[in-house]
């Protein structure tokens, strides 16, 4: 056998870096400067913090409702509140949110009500008929399939010369899906104003990231599409918002799409139908708790800059508790829709040939 031949290296024709950023570490300490200009502006930060607290309070209430049989299968956002709130706060009202099923903090920021969220997870379509924001997409259940919608909507913004941006949230598992890739690739080819936010919570139900892909980062998925990307600490709201602001305003000014990988951790079970103790160690979860986004922002806000007093926080918590209770009450008091509701929005106008089906459904309900 001949001596092992070593091929010449070949010429480098393209090079890519993936960068990671974090401003605030656990405990609230600043580890990177300069901070964004709004990082000492309580008028910016407190409302975001409030949304994170709202999300957490809502989550606790929803889990309780589910456990007592008054809500369907439900997906907790525990530990991921900074991403939705941070990103949504960098969006304009007229931008478009295309969320997956765990983005309560983004939805609450944008005006979706807790009652609407409860109705949706309680098995009622009216929960997706948001009073505001009227154009946002409802939560997407088939993972990654909504990425196409974000790219399509962004295409509409582009050709109508609207200075708007579509923001699409998805999970780490979702990045394995072909529709995610196709949407990202088309967004790159068409240069449309869309931002993909990958909430990398390291688990897709029981499948850890290392079994999902050999890619070392999820930010590098964008390289395949020729789309710019970066990685941030998703539990550092400041880093999330800074990256989102950059991506969204870039997209708005015609610089094309961008992908943000936000590193976080799913502190709870996948959904109320899941038992995460079957497949992951308590020690991992405990370690992740130390990186909790809510307490990190809390520590930052109450730290050197003292943007939040204990009294303010107490008032805020009380308000939120009231809000949650009101929402639950309103939710539980909402009577179900009649059987005919199945037919009301099937088409803009129900075809003649289906009138008998509607009549039969109505009849059954009356006599059932």
């Amino acid at each position: 056998m001949v001596e092992r031949y070593v091929r010449p290296d070949g010429e480098i024709v393209a090079q890519f870096d993936v960068r990671f950023s974090r401003f605030i570490e656990p405990g609230g300490k600043v580890v990177c400067t300069p901070l964004p200009p709004w990082a000492d502006d309580s008028g910016v930060l407190i409302p975001i913090y409030r949304t994170m607290l709202q999300t957490r309070a809502f989550d606790a209430a929803a889990l309780k409702l589910q456990r007592t049989g008054r809500l369907g299968t439900y997906a907790s956002p525990l530990g991921q509140e900074a991403i939705g709130a941070g990103v949504a706060s960098a969006m304009r009202e007229e931008d478009l949110l295309v969320p997956s099923y765990r983005e309560f903090s983004a939805q609450l920021w944008r005006g979706v009500t807790m009652t609407e969220l409860l109705l949706y997870w309680g098995g009622d379509e009216r929960g997706s008929d948001y009073r505001v924001p009227r154009q946002d997409f409802p939560a997407c259940i088939p993972v990654a399939s909504h990425c196409c919608h974000a790219t399509g909507a962004a295409y509409a913004f582009k050709i109508r010369r609207q200075p708007r941006v579509a923001v699409c949230f998805l999970g780490d598992g979702a990045t394995s899906k072909g529709d995610f890739y196709e949407s990202l690739n088309a967004a790159g080819a068409w240069h449309v104003p869309v931002v993909f936010v990958v909430c990398n919570n390291h688990w897709a139900i029981s499948v850890p990231l290392g079994r999902q892909t050999a890619a070392r980062t999820l930010a590098q998925k964008a390289i395949a599409a020729g789309v710019a990307s970066e990685q941030v600490d998703g539990n550092d709201m400041i880093a999330v918002r800074a990256a989102a602001e950059f991506a969204i305003e870039n997209a708005r000014s015609g610089e094309g799409p961008r992908l943000i990988e936000a590193l976080t951790y799913r502190l709870g079970d996948h959904t109320t139908a899941d038992d995460a103790s079957r497949y992951r160690d308590a020690s991992e979860v405990n370690a992740a708790r130390a990186r909790d986004p809510v307490s990190r922002l809390h520590d930052y806000l109450t730290g050197t800059e003292a943007m939040l007093s204990a009294a303010d926080e107490e008032t805020m918590s009380a308000e939120i508790e009231q809000e949650v209770n009101d929402a639950i009450e309103q939710y539980l008091a909402t009577p179900p829709q009649p059987a005919s509701a199945m037919f009301d929005h099937l088409f803009s106008e129900l075809p003649q040939s289906m009138l008998d089906q509607r009549a039969s459904a109505e009849g059954e309900q009356d006599h059932g």
Partner: protein, 326 residues
């Protein structure tokens, strides 16, 4: 006015719709400068620009999916899938999103999109290019499925599909893309969706069909007429929602029903029609409802295609069988 082919009529309808409503955009593989592999979008990019006639990457899931995003924003995307054999990845988007976004948001978001694709065999194309799988789409609640059988019908139905505020799958019988020519005034007149057309009145048997097979049905009916059998021909046109009324009226009159389609027998859309007739028209039936269809096999490569597709001979035999039934 010149006579035009079915594919020209599609082009004419697209152009009309784009002039009429600036929200209409076309997208698909090779729909731009190439004008589509069958030339259905010929010249439209030149007329309406690259933004409104968009060449997509080679990604059918994407095509189905971005159309939904566009439609939710008030555009009216008319998406082309190059061959029906490549349309299956869109089923996920059509079923899980397009057909239900109005319902799940209680009308807040809607999906006025059209998905066009050529279908059917008989043109000597490679494998996966010749199937008729309209039943897969027609089963999906919330979708309309429309199939024209002539240039006139193509023009009027496609305009109706584009103007319809809900998602429509518009399947074009490519075997007859250039088979017949008709005068089709470019007057923007749409045809009604949701109705079947009585193409030729008759007394003895109702032959129910759609798309390219209509032409073989007409040929069969001509032969049958020579032997004194008067066939009423129904062009279903809109498969879903199905206009059962027109079909039942016909069967009530003739007492016999033969359904003809290229698609495989089992679970083909003919099954639905036969089932409706069997439920609602049973007492007027003088003979069993017969279906003349493709077999429950893989559509063969083109050397054997003609043996798979319902022939005029198979149609007349089926009619003879129901006529002679006693």
């Amino acid at each position: 006015m010149a006579e035009i082919t079915l594919v020209d009529a599609v082009n004419q309808a697209l152009a009309y719709a784009m002039r009429e409503n600036e929200n209409v955009v076309l997208l698909g593989e090779d729909v731009g400068v190439n004008g589509g592999v069958f030339r259905a979008t010929n010249g439209l990019q030149e007329s309406f620009g690259e933004e409104r006639v968009l060449d997509t990457p080679l990604s059918e899931t994407l095509i189905g999916g971005v159309a939904i995003g566009m439609a939710a924003q008030g555009l009216i995307p008319v998406a082309e899938i190059q061959f029906m054999g490549f349309a299956y990845p869109t089923i996920d988007q059509l079923l899980n999103h397009a057909a239900r976004i109005r319902n799940r948001t209680r009308g807040r978001l809607t999906c006025p999109m059209v998905l066009r694709a050529p279908f059917g065999g008989g043109i000597g194309a490679p494998e996966h290019h010749c199937e008729s799988t309209e039943a897969l789409f027609a089963h999906i609640p919330g979708l309309r499925v429309v199939i024209p059988s002539s240039p006139e019908r193509a023009y009027g139905l496609l305009l109706a599909a584009i103007r319809n505020p809900d998602p429509v799958v518009f399947l074009e019988p490519k075997r007859i893309y250039r088979l017949v020519k008709q005068r089709v005034p470019d007057d923007g007149e749409a045809l009604p969706l949701d109705v079947c057309f009585v193409l030729r009145p008759g007394d003895d048997v109702s032959i129910v069909s759609w798309g390219a097979m209509i032409h073989d049905v007409v040929a069969a009916a001509d032969q049958l007429a020579l032997r004194g059998i008067s066939a009423e021909i129904i062009d279903v046109a809109t498969l879903k929602p199905l206009d059962v009324k027109t079909i039942l009226e016909s069967v009530n009159k003739t007492g016999r029903c033969v359904i003809v389609h290229e698609a495989a027998l089992s679970g083909g859309w003919g099954a639905e029609i036969a089932a409706r007739v069997a439920e609602l028209g049973l007492m007027s039936l003088l003979a069993p409802v017969k279906r003349v269809t493709g077999y429950d096999t893989i559509m063969p490569l083109f050397r054997l295609e003609h043996l798979y597709m319902p022939s005029i001979d198979r149609i007349t035999k089926a009619v003879n069988a129901v006529m002679e039934f006693a």
